[in-house]
């Protein structure tokens, strides 16, 4: 790895510096382990699940210490996932960012199954084999995590059931068909808001009943310990590769890293390689939906407050009674009322900044990347692209002595979103509309 280190970037704000160095005294931010990330995280689940969480935690740490596990995961990523994923400079897109910015995309969209989700899924699926369990269950919103789980289940000979909100089975019908082709059972969830959160409720109910034979292959950095820590670790590869690739291309660290944040796994994966670099600004972009002021969004850091959902304490969209509030986003994968506890911790520390991006901004950025670079992104990832477009003007305040270097995690590809985008931009025949 050839890398210049911090000399490549100007100093970030003093506050950011203080956040990094204060925590540096307690060990690197990137190595924080669960169950708590500051005031966030924990295990707010029925007692019935505690034994399985302990078993998972033990199996995970044993696997980490076993070189054979790392070697097997590395081999699968190289020969099956297609890692390392490329790093692509996007100059025609960058022209719209302004300030002479250079923009690089980490191409998780080119992974097998089309998103970053496979990184975590293969890691957990190998653990399932080690634990001797025969069945996996998963929740899915956009369908990407469900597809990745169904894929790993086929590869490793596991039974697979995927819970998906009925609303999401409609907007991501293509992924429902993919999961079924791969041999998974897809169960549409018809209670509650019929989106990702309700799919997680159903998966948790299944898990409580079948925990002896079944692993819950949770798809993001939320949930009870050890999921936030373990899923982050399985996605570290994104940041590690990107850091080395960017150093090779530019000899520098990025000035800013942008990622979309649903539960927060792709963001945590790419952030983790830069958390302890005080010159690197980290930005998470959440679903602003129709605008935070309309109440129809999934912007936890703008409209939420700390609370408990699905096993962890974190920022949560909730009403005055602590009831989970309905969310909205054009992107199913970001349409979730809570967020990984480590993001809540980074937010409160001031180490990462979280901003909402509206449906309209995301779809504009979606279209822009299609037309300037020939890449159709997932609508989730388009939120990060819209964020990058915003970072151009903001970078004027960063005090850099060079044009900004921005790294964007392109977490997935847009095949699954063609119908949504086609309807959004009025590209479909009338009969197919609505």
């Amino acid at each position: 790895m050839t890398e210049a280190g911090p000399r490549g970037g100007a100093r970030a704000s003093d506050a950011l510096h203080r956040a990094v160095s204060a925590l540096g005294e307690r060990g690197p931010l990137s190595d924080q382990s669960g169950p708590y990330f500051g005031a966030f995280g924990g295990r707010f689940v029925p007692e019935a699940l505690i034994a399985a969480l302990d078993e998972l935690d033990t199996a995970y740490h044993k696997a980490l210490a076993d070189p054979a596990f790392g070697a097997e995961l590395e081999r699968l990523h190289r020969t099956y996932t297609g890692r390392p994923s490329p790093l692509t400079e996007v100059p025609r897109f960058a022209a719209h960012v302004g300030q002479g910015a250079r923009v690089f995309l980490k191409r998780e969209d080119l992974n097998h199954t089309g998103s970053h989700k496979i990184n975590n899924v293969l890691g957990q699926a190998l653990l399932v084999k080690r634990m001797g369990k025969k069945r996996v269950i998963a929740e899915t919103g956009a369908g990407q995590h469900g597809v990745a789980t169904a894929t790993a289940a086929a590869l490793l000979d596991l039974d697979c059931t995927v819970y998906m909100g009925e609303e999401d089975t409609r907007r991501q019908a293509l992924n429902v068909a993919r999961m079924r082709l791969l041999g998974a059972e897809v169960v549409p969830v018809t209670i509650g808001s019929r989106t990702l959160k309700d799919a997680i409720n159903e998966a948790l109910r299944d898990w409580v009943a079948n925990v002896e034979t079944t692993h819950y292959l949770l798809g993001t950095v939320t949930g009870p310990h050890p999921f936030p820590e373990m899923v982050r670790d399985f996605h570290r590869v994104i940041g590690e590769e990107a850091r080395a690739q960017l150093a090779e291309e530019t000899g520098r660290l990025p000035d800013a890293v942008a990622a979309c944040v649903g539960g927060g796994s792709n963001a945590m994966g790419i952030f983790s390689a830069f958390l302890d670099e005080p010159t690197v600004r980290l930005f998470g972009f959440e679903a602003g939906g129709e605008g935070v002021e309309t109440g129809r969004h999934a912007a936890r850091f703008s409209g939420g407050a700390p609370g408990v959902l699905h096993g962890a304490r974190s920022y949560l969209l909730q009403d005055q009674d602590g009831q989970t509030r309905p969310t909205h986003s054009v992107s199913a994968g970001l349409d979730y009322p809570s967020v990984g506890p480590a993001h809540a911790w980074l937010h409160d520390l001031g180490r990462a900044e979280y901003q909402p991006v509206t449906d309209v901004e995301a779809m504009d950025a979606f279209s822009l990347l299609c037309r300037t670079e020939g890449i159709i992104p997932a609508i989730e990832s388009a939120h990060a692209l819209a964020g990058a477009l915003r970072l151009g003007p903001q970078s004027a305040q960063w005090g850099l002595d060079h044009p900004p270097l921005i790294l964007v995690n392109l977490s997935g590809r847009g095949d699954k979103d063609v119908a949504t985008a086609g309807a959004w931009f009025g590209l479909l025949d009338e009969t197919e509309d609505e």
Partner: protein, 267 residues
């Protein structure tokens, strides 16, 4: 001193287990749920478990989900639980509130405990709070002299049974099977084993819930546990009824039959 434990001991000394009946606040509406709970007590339920409706009840099966969804859609508010507790407690039966943790966190753990105690409530049953995460609830329940009923499950290790037994007050709630609430054809043999293990781990009083729905099952469980907790089967009588009055009658009939099962059990 725990009001629930006192009642459980009295019943034990008289040679029988307690019947604990669950209903959610707000089904068919708040006043209706209070009436239903009172009807349940009239029919022979010894201890009432009143559920706070919550958007994400991961420990509950379809029956309770449906009732709770209705309660929320019709505008039931968390703070209404205190008035309801007060009215039900006037029957003389101890009233425990069953609640997922976030509504309590949002209200404020100490404030919730204070208001529950002021309403004459006996304490809380917390399906998604383990003692390990409950430091502020342990403090608040001590300060306001409330019961704290934690759950154990067939998957609980010996260490966790001991930890949970030590943290609980009132009784320990033993989940009969691995799974969510709802009627089952049989109560697993593991329930009896779990009760014995929980006692061996230091619990004086252990009640069994999840999946108990018929008088025969209630009688079976009453043979080895200090209390029999029935939820979904009672809620179902209300869901299936054409109107509130006939719902209360069906509820009363089932509660009476369950009470007969419990009191008839030979210990």
């Amino acid at each position: 001193m725990s009001g629930t434990a006192t009642r459980l001991r009295e019943l034990r000394d008289s040679g029988r287990a307690a019947l604990v009946g669950y209903l959610p606040l707000g089904y068919p509406d708040v006043a209706g749920s209070v009436e239903a709970a009172k009807a349940m007590v009239d029919a022979g339920v010894d201890i009432v478990e009143l559920g706070v409706p919550y958007t994400d009840p991961v420990m509950d099966g379809p029956t309770i989900q449906r009732a709770v969804e209705h309660a929320l859609e019709t505008g039931t508010r968390v703070a209404q639980v205190f008035g309801a507790v007060e009215q039900i407690a006037a029957t003389g039966a101890p009233v425990l509130v069953m609640t997922y943790w976030n509504p309590v966190l949002r209200y404020g753990v100490d404030a919730f405990a204070r208001d529950l105690a002021a309403a004459g409530g006996a304490g809380l049953i917390t399906p998604d709070l383990i003692p390990d995460e409950g430091a502020d609830w342990l403090a608040a329940s001590d300060a306001h002299d409330l019961d704290r009923v934690f759950l154990v499950a067939p998957s609980s290790t010996t260490e966790r049974l001991a930890l949970t037994a030590a943290a609980s007050r009132g009784f320990v709630y033993a989940a009969s099977t691995m799974g969510v609430t709802g009627a089952r054809a049989t109560v697993g043999a593991q329930a009896a084993r779990l009760v014995a293990d929980t006692r061996a781990a230091g619990a004086e009083l252990v009640c069994v819930g999840v999946g108990v729905s018929t008088p025969d099952q209630a009688a079976e469980v009453a043979g080895y546990a200090d209390g029999v907790i029935v939820g979904s089967a009672l809620v179902r009588t209300l869901l299936d009824a054409p109107d509130a009055a006939s719902g209360r009658r069906a509820l009363g009939d089932l509660a009476a039959a369950l009470a007969e099962g419990v009191t008839g059990a030979r210990r």
